[in-house]
């Protein structure tokens, strides 16, 4: 799994049948790197986000600006949903808080 920030959603009337009932969130993965400012704790302001946007299915009700845990793969999909869904990435937790010490990141 990885951490990502919710930036929006997408929807469409014409879509694969297996997407029925799913909320689709656009998320940007958090990119973890050593802090240049010498800070030891990662704050939201200096938390870098990937340019890549992943769309993940969600049933937990995450909203824009929230951080989530994304898990991927067909096996995880079978656990969270079922094998008929045309999805590969899904939100498995909405982050309340995270404590990341970038001083130990090298």
């Amino acid at each position: 799994m990885y951490l990502a920030k919710v930036i929006g959603t997408n929807w469409g009337a014409k879509q694969a049948a297996g997407l029925e009932g799913l909320k689709l969130l656009q998320v940007r993965p958090v990119v973890l790197r050593a802090s240049e400012a010498g800070a030891t704790r990662l704050t939201e302001q200096d938390c870098a986000l990937s340019d890549q946007v992943i769309v993940a299915a969600d049933t937990l009700g995450a909203g824009p600006g929230e951080y989530v845990l994304v898990a991927t793969g067909s096996r995880v999909r079978d656990v969270v949903y079922d094998s008929s869904r045309p999805i590969k990435a899904m939100v498995v937790a909405i982050v309340d808080s995270a404590d990341i010490d970038v001083g130990v990141v090298r």
Binding site: Y2, V31, L32, V76, D78, M90, A93, R106
Partner: protein, 133 residues
């Protein structure tokens, strides 16, 4: 499995029910492991070892992490398997006409001894100091 360092922890109340009761740790992988997402981290469950921030750990990926609890599978891709006490690497792998190159800066804080396969010389170095928060 891969080696990594625990750099943080994540807390969540709204989550898949199978994740309840498990620590979620943020891991910085030490070496290149061909990840599908190049994000410099992964999140792993800790079901067995109670690792903490600053620990170097062995992470298991794939199918087994999903079966670390009773009953139906967990929606996870990685699990902490062990806390590393010590690691030794053959120095000659990093030399010669086709040396091994490590992704990023390699596990400098992790290797505490180096062994040469040619000859009987065994060299070791003191564990480098970790930076304090």
């Amino acid at each position: 499995m891969i080696l990594g360092r625990v750099v943080g922890e994540v807390w969540a109340t709204r989550k898949h029910p199978k994740l309840v009761g498990y620590k979620l740790l943020v891991i910085r992988p030490h070496w290149w492991y061909e990840p599908s997402h190049h994000v410099g981290h992964l999140v792993a469950i800790d079901a067995h070892v109670d690792a903490g921030v600053g620990d170097d750990v062995v992470i298991c990926m794939g199918e087994p992490p999903r079966w670390q609890s009773e009953g139906p599978a967990m929606p996870v891709e990685a699990a902490v398997m062990a806390v590393v006490d010590r690691c030794e690497v053959d120095e000659s792998a990093f030399e010669g006409p086709r040396p091994l190159k490590l992704w990023r800066d390699g596990p400098r804080g992790l290797i505490v001894g180096r062994i040469r396969t040619e000859g009987a010389e065994v060299t070791s170095q003191a564990e480098p100091e970790r930076s304090e928060p």
